[in-house]
């Protein structure tokens, strides 16, 4: 479905763009239907930029990004809207993804405004409730409340529900559980796992290697904008070929193994 072919992204900085910063260098990757691809990298690795480009929020400087062989960068107006019907995103900070001055359920109303203006209100309410139940939220718990009255886990699930209101085929999940508490993050991950089983493709952007392996089929390791290693998740983690990946794995705090002990 989604394909990056030798994609570069360079930002211009300073007065009249005199300085350049290359955030993404020559990245190629692919996400297929029903596949979860983990994009793992530390801060400054360009992983978020890749996610934004996949969502059409930023355009590549060089290279091609296509969805079903249609270039994403050139989409405007109606075509871009059509793209966002199929490809949606959930971001890292749930409290920053909700406009703090509005009630949290406004995110659903915006989807209706943007994509389904002709759906009658009662029918729309039903759809929202169905979507909320799909992410295991009780509608009464989360509707008509302000973001600060809800927990991070509830907000992130609402955003997934929002994406499910559309007929999405690809979800870009950018660090969606890093701000959540341990007891709820696994629920969000399991939810993604279930959606994947139903055919959803997921680009799972994270800095946390443990979370990356749990649901992903393939893993792409990034450093400073470049892909250092990619392949089936088990292979990348069991036999890392690149030294950077090995160092990264060595630094991960395991739950049952100390850093200076061999991994069990």
């Amino acid at each position: 479905m989604l394909r990056f072919e030798a994609v570069w992204k360079t930002y211009r900085l300073g007065a009249f763009g005199t300085r350049e910063l290359t955030a993404v260098r020559d990245v190629s990757l692919e996400v297929a239907r029903g596949e979860v691809v983990s994009l793992i990298g530390e801060s400054g690795s360009g992983k978020t930029t890749i996610g934004r480009m996949a969502l059409g929020l930023a355009a590549p400087t060089r290279g091609r990004i296509t969805f079903d062989d249609v270039p994403v960068a050139g989409l405007r107006g109606r075509a871009l809207r059509g793209y966002h019907r199929q490809v949606q995103g959930v971001f890292q900070d749930p409290f920053s993804t909700f406009n703090p001055v509005f009630k949290a359920d406004r995110v659903f109303a915006l989807v209706r405004d943007g994509f389904f203006p002709s759906v009658p209100a009662a029918q729309w309410r039903q759809r929202v409730e169905d979507a909320l139940e799909g992410v295991r939220l009780e509608p009464a718990d989360v509707l008509h409340k302000y973001p600060h009255q809800l927990s991070g886990g509830q907000l992130q699930r609402m955003l997934i529900a929002r994406a499910l209101l559309l007929d999405i085929r690809l979800l870009v999940a950018d660090e969606i559980i890093s701000m959540l508490d341990a007891s709820t993050r696994i629920d969000v991950l399991n939810l993604l796992g279930e959606l994947k089983a139903k055919g959803l493709g997921v680009l799972f952007v994270t800095h946390d290697l443990a979370l990356g392996t749990y649901i992903s089929d393939r893993t792409v390791i990034l450093r400073a904008g470049e892909v250092v290693e990619s392949g089936p998740t088990e292979e990348v983690f069991a036999q890392p070929r690149h030294e950077y990946t090995r160092n990264l794995l060595a630094a991960v705090p395991h739950l049952h193994t100390r850093w200076n002990e061999p991994v069990k």
Binding site: F16, L57, H84, G89, P100, V101, Y146
Partner: protein, 304 residues
């Protein structure tokens, strides 16, 4: 730019938008605003002055500058605020002055607000080259000595009416608004809800109007208050140096002519205290309203 013009109006209620959530929010803002003592108190003061300025002059057939009574008379039943050295009715001048003060403040402050916010929003949201160019324009106007330019403009064009005076003031007092709004927009633009709005099919102007501006509504209102006050003071300055419209009265002109004719030394306190107190009360009431509105707009403060 019709889309951004809505933003100019003070506070959120004018952010006209047919969509259901915003209408709901407007009702809610109103609900909390009517229960906020600061907002209600401030509005009462402003409306009282506005009413006085609008209504009082209707009940007299004299012009505010006519010599109607004994000179230098203290306040009495006939002349509520006394008379000037020349026998003009201070109350009549006061009521008319409030009128032109509101006109200058609203028009001048409003115009500066529209220009400043338009430039600030566009520059902050678009960034890049557009931002650089608008920033340059802003800086050019910012460093122009507004007063000197207004004096020169007056010499060539002539300021014949209060609205015209307001127009000129508005044209030169927007740069700091543009800079402030740009900076705020810049920081809000990087928040993720802006991305989410774009993913919901919102176009840039809608994003500015429906996502970014509501986050700054109390700030925009504060800006408008400062512009209002600034325009009033600037008008008073121009009036004082003889560059104001001639046959009208303003609170600034009253105070300045009081000083000019040594009202302070002659003990004619009723000549300069009312206009001074009125300017203070109007700007002060707007300020109190702003603090209250901050609580109304920010759902988190509401609960405190």
């Amino acid at each position: 730019m019709t889309d951004t013009e809505h933003v100019e109006a003070p506070g959120v209620p004018a952010l006209a938008e047919p969509a259901a959530p915003l209408a709901g929010r407007r009702r809610e803002v109103l609900h909390f605003a009517l229960r906020n003592r600061k907002v209600v108190g401030g509005s009462v003061v402003i409306l009282a002055f506005l009413l006085l300025g609008l209504v009082a002059p209707l009940f007299t057939d004299h012009g505010p500058n006519e010599y109607v009574g004994p000179p230098s008379a203290p306040p009495s039943a006939d002349y509520w605020f006394g008379t000037t050295t020349f026998g003009q009715d201070v109350f009549l001048q006061f009521a008319n002055g409030i009128r032109s003060t509101f006109v200058v403040g609203l028009l001048g402050g409003g115009l500066a607000g529209v220009i400043g916010m338009t430039v600030g929003f566009v520059a902050g949201y678009r960034g890049g080259l557009v931002d650089e160019l608008l920033n340059m324009l802003t800086n050019i106007v910012l460093v122009l000595p507004a007063l000197a330019v207004l004096i020169i403009l007056h010499a060539y064009v002539g300021i014949t009416s209060v609205p015209m005076q307001a127009l000129f003031i508005g044209l030169f007092s927007w740069p700091w608004v543009a800079r402030a709004v740009r900076a705020q927009t810049f920081s809000i633009r990087s928040r993720e809800f802006v991305d989410l709005a774009r993913l919901s099919g919102m176009r840039p102007l809608a994003v500015i109007r429906r996502e970014i501006a509501p986050n700054m509504s109390s700030y925009l209102f504060m800006t408008f208050i400062l512009l209002f006050g600034g325009a009033v003071l600037m008008a008073a300055t121009l009036d004082f140096i003889g560059l104001g419209p001639t046959d009208v009265v303003s609170l600034g002109l009253m105070m300045n002519s009081a000083v000019h004719w040594s009202a302070l030394h002659l003990g004619l306190w009723w000549w300069f205290v009312p206009p001074g107190a009125a300017i203070t009360a109007i700007v002060g009431a707007l300020y109190v309203m702003n603090v209250g509105l901050d609580e109304v707009f920010n759902p988190k403060l509401r609960e405190m």
